[in-house]
C-alpha cells in the first residue's frame, strides 16, 4: 500500500490482509505487560488534525507508539495554520521536517487525495483520517474487524446503516468496504439525509427503520452531524429520534445474534437509547479497542515493508 485514502477502491485482498494483521496484533498483544513492538522504530508519523477529534487522534497516536514509531501531533488551532498557512505548505513543511507518514483529518472532502499528490515526490505516505463528507477508511476497517470478530465471515451478512448518511464519511466508507467484503448493506435514512448519487454505491436505501430490523445481522447507528447541517433536514430532534432513534423497543426486534455499532461520539437519547448503547450486544467500546489494532495494522502495511518507488 502506498497511501490509505479511501475504502472505495480498496480491493478485498488488501482489506483482508489489513484485517488479518489487526487480528494477529490483537492476539499478540493480549495479556502482555509491555504493549510495545519494535517494528516501526525510527519512522516518524505526524497526525495533522484540522477538525476536533478525540478517539481517532488518540487511537492513531497509541497505534504509532505501540509500534515504536515517533508520533508527533499537530493540531490546526495551535500551529502555523492559525497564521494562514495553506494545507499544502504545512504538509510540505512536515514532510521536509522528516515525516514518513502524515495522518490527516480535514473538513474538506478530498483533502487527503490532494495531500497525497503534493507529497508524492517527497515519498511521504498519507492516511486519510476523515475528509469532510467523503471517507474515513480506518473507521470502516475497524468496524469490519469488530463485525468479523462477532459474526465471522461477512460474506452474505446484512448490515444496516441508520441515520445521517448524507453527512457521514463513516457511512460511505463502510458501504464500500462492506460490499467489497461481500456483505449486503442497507441504508436507512430520512429522504432529506440521503446523498445524491447514492444508487451508485450499490447499497439498498430505505426510509423506514422498523421493517428492516428483523433481517439485520448488525446495525450501525450514525451520529446526527449538527455541525455540518446548514439547512433544515428534519423538523425537530424529537421527531428524528421517534422515527430513526434506536430505542429499546426497536433493538428488541433485532435477531439475537445481531450487534449494534456506533462510530462515536454518541448522542445518547437522540440516535441511540442509553440502554441500547450499554447492552451486551452493543460493541461500541470494542470498536474503539479494535481501532488501535486496525491502525497499527495500517501503519504496518504502509511503513514496514520495503520502500516503494522512493
Amino acid at each position: 500500500m502506498r497511501h490509505l485514502l479511501s475504502a472505495e477502491g480498496l480491493d478485498a485482498a488488501s482489506a483482508t490482509a489489513v484485517l488479518d494483521t489487526s487480528d494477529a496484533l490483537k492476539q499478540t498483544l493480549s495479556g502482555r505487560e509491555v504493549r510495545k513492538l519494535p517494528t516501526l522504530r525510527g519512522r516518524t508519523v505526524v497526525t495533522m488534525f484540522y477538525e476536533n477529534s478525540t478517539r481517532t487522534r488518540v487511537s492513531f497516536e497509541v497505534a504509532g507508539k505501540w509500534m515504536s514509531a515517533d508520533v508527533i501531533n499537530v493540531s490546526a488551532s495551535a500551529s502555523s495554520v492559525g497564521k494562514g498557512e495553506s494545507l499544502r505548505d504545512t504538509a510540505l513543511t512536515l514532510s521536509a521536517a522528516g515525516a514518513d507518514c502524515v495522518i490527516v483529518r480535514h473538513p474538506a472532502s478530498g483533502a487527503a487525495h490532494r495531500l497525497a499528490g503534493w507529497l508524492e515526490e517527497a515519498g511521504t505516505q498519507v492516511v486519510n483520517a476523515g475528509d469532510g463528507m467523503h471517507e474515513h477508511p480506518t473507521q470502516a476497517l475497524l468496524d469490519a474487524a469488530t463485525l468479523r470478530e462477532r459474526l465471522g465471515d461477512l460474506a452474505g451478512r446484512r448490515i444496516g446503516i441508520v441515520g445521517d448518511v448524507l453527512h457521514s464519511r463513516v457511512a460511505r466508507s463502510n458501504v464500500h468496504l462492506l460490499r467489497t467484503l461481500g456483505a449486503e448493506v442497507v441504508l436507512v435514512a430520512p429522504p432529506t439525509l440521503v446523498p445524491a448519487g447514492v444508487r451508485e454505491w450499490g447499497a439498498q436505501v430505505r426510509s423506514e427503520l422498523d421493517p428492516e430490523l428483523p433481517g439485520l445481522d448488525a446495525v450501525m447507528v450514525l451520529r446526527v452531524q449538527a455541525e455540518r447541517m446548514h439547512g433544515a433536514f428534519f423538523p425537530s430532534a424529537r421527531e428524528y429520534s421517534i422515527h430513526y432513534g434506536l430505542t429499546e423497543q426497536r433493538a428488541a426486534k433485532l435477531p439475537d445474534h445481531a450487534v449494534v455499532l456506533h462510530p462515536g461520539p454518541m448522542l445518547r437519547g437522540m440516535e441511540i437509547a442509553p440502554a441500547v448503547a450499554d447492552a451486551p450486544n452493543a460493541v461500541i467500546t470494542e470498536q474503539v479497542r479494535n481501532g488501535v489494532h486496525v491502525r497499527m495494522a495500517v501503519l504496518y502495511h504502509l511503513l514496514a515493508g520495503e520502500e516503494i518507488g522512493a
Partner: protein, 202 residues
C-alpha cells in the same frame, strides 16, 4: 542415521534429498531424547516450554513435545512465537503477513524455553525470537533446537540441539517440508536454478 543409503545423486529437478521422511522422524526422536536428557523435565512442573517459530517451527515443536511425552511421560507445553514484527530486514522485503503467536497459559516467566525452528542459517531469526521472547516475559534460560543447521552464521548464535549439520553454499537453498504444512516430510537441498521457496530460511 547410518542405515540410509547415500542420496547424493541429484534428481532431475536439481535437488538433493538431505533427509527422507523416515530420517525426519528419527531425527525428531533423537532431539526429543536430547532435550529430555539435558533439561530433565519433571511431571507437572511445566518448567520446560517449547516455542516454535512459524511456519514450520510450530508443527516441529508439537512433534517434539509428543515424542518427549512418549519417552518420558512428561507433558511439556508448546506455543508459537511469531517474530515478523521483530525482524531486522522488514524494510528490505515486501510486506510479510503476520502469523499467529500463542503462548502456553503458564507464560514463559521462569521457564526453560526451547526455541524450535526448522533451519538455522544467519541466526537473525533467532535474534528476533530472543527479542520477541523478552517482550513476553523472563525465561530462566533459553535454548535452541533446529532440524537443519546449514552454517553461514552472521551473529554469535549456536543451537543446543541440531538434527543435521549440512554444509551449504549461500546460493543453495534448504527446504524443510513437513506433512502438517507441505503434505509430506522431507528435507531437500536445492541448487541455485531452483527458485521456488517453500521454507523460510533462517
Amino acid at each position: 542415521m547410518a542405515s540410509r543409503p547415500p542420496a547424493d545423486a541429484a534428481d532431475p529437478a536439481g535437488q538433493r534429498e538431505l533427509l527422507s521422511s523416515g530420517d525426519v522422524a528419527r531425527t525428531i526422536a533423537r532431539i526429543a531424547h536430547q532435550i529430555i536428557e539435558k533439561t530433565a523435565p519433571e511431571p507437572g512442573a511445566d518448567d520446560v516450554v517449547l516455542l516454535g517459530v512459524p511456519t514450520r517451527g510450530v508443527p516441529l515443536s508439537r512433534r517434539l513435545a509428543d515424542r518427549i511425552g512418549e519417552f518420558s511421560g512428561v507433558t511439556v507445553p508448546t506455543g508459537a512465537l511469531d517474530i515478523t514484527l521483530y525482524r531486522d530486514d522488514l524494510r528490505k522485503q515486501p510486506n510479510r503477513p503476520l502469523e499467529p503467536s500463542s503462548l502456553p497459559p503458564r507464560g514463559v516467566d521462569g521457564a526453560l524455553v526451547v526455541l524450535v525452528d526448522d533451519v538455522l542459517y544467519s541466526g537473525r531469526t533467532v535474534r528476533a525470537a530472543l527479542d520477541a521472547l523478552r517482550d513476553q516475559g523472563r525465561p530462566r534460560a533459553v535454548q535452541l533446537a533446529t532440524l537443519v543447521d546449514r552454517g553461514h552464521r552472521e551473529l554469535p548464535i549456536r543451537a543446543d540441539y541440531v538434527g543435521k549439520n549440512v554444509p551449504t553454499s549461500r546460493s543453495e537453498e534448504v527446504a524443510v517440508q513437513l506433512s502438517e504444512v507441505d503434505g509430506r516430510d522431507q528435507v531437500v537441498l536445492r541448487r541455485p536454478a531452483e527458485t521456488t521457496r517453500t521454507s523460510e530460511e533462517s
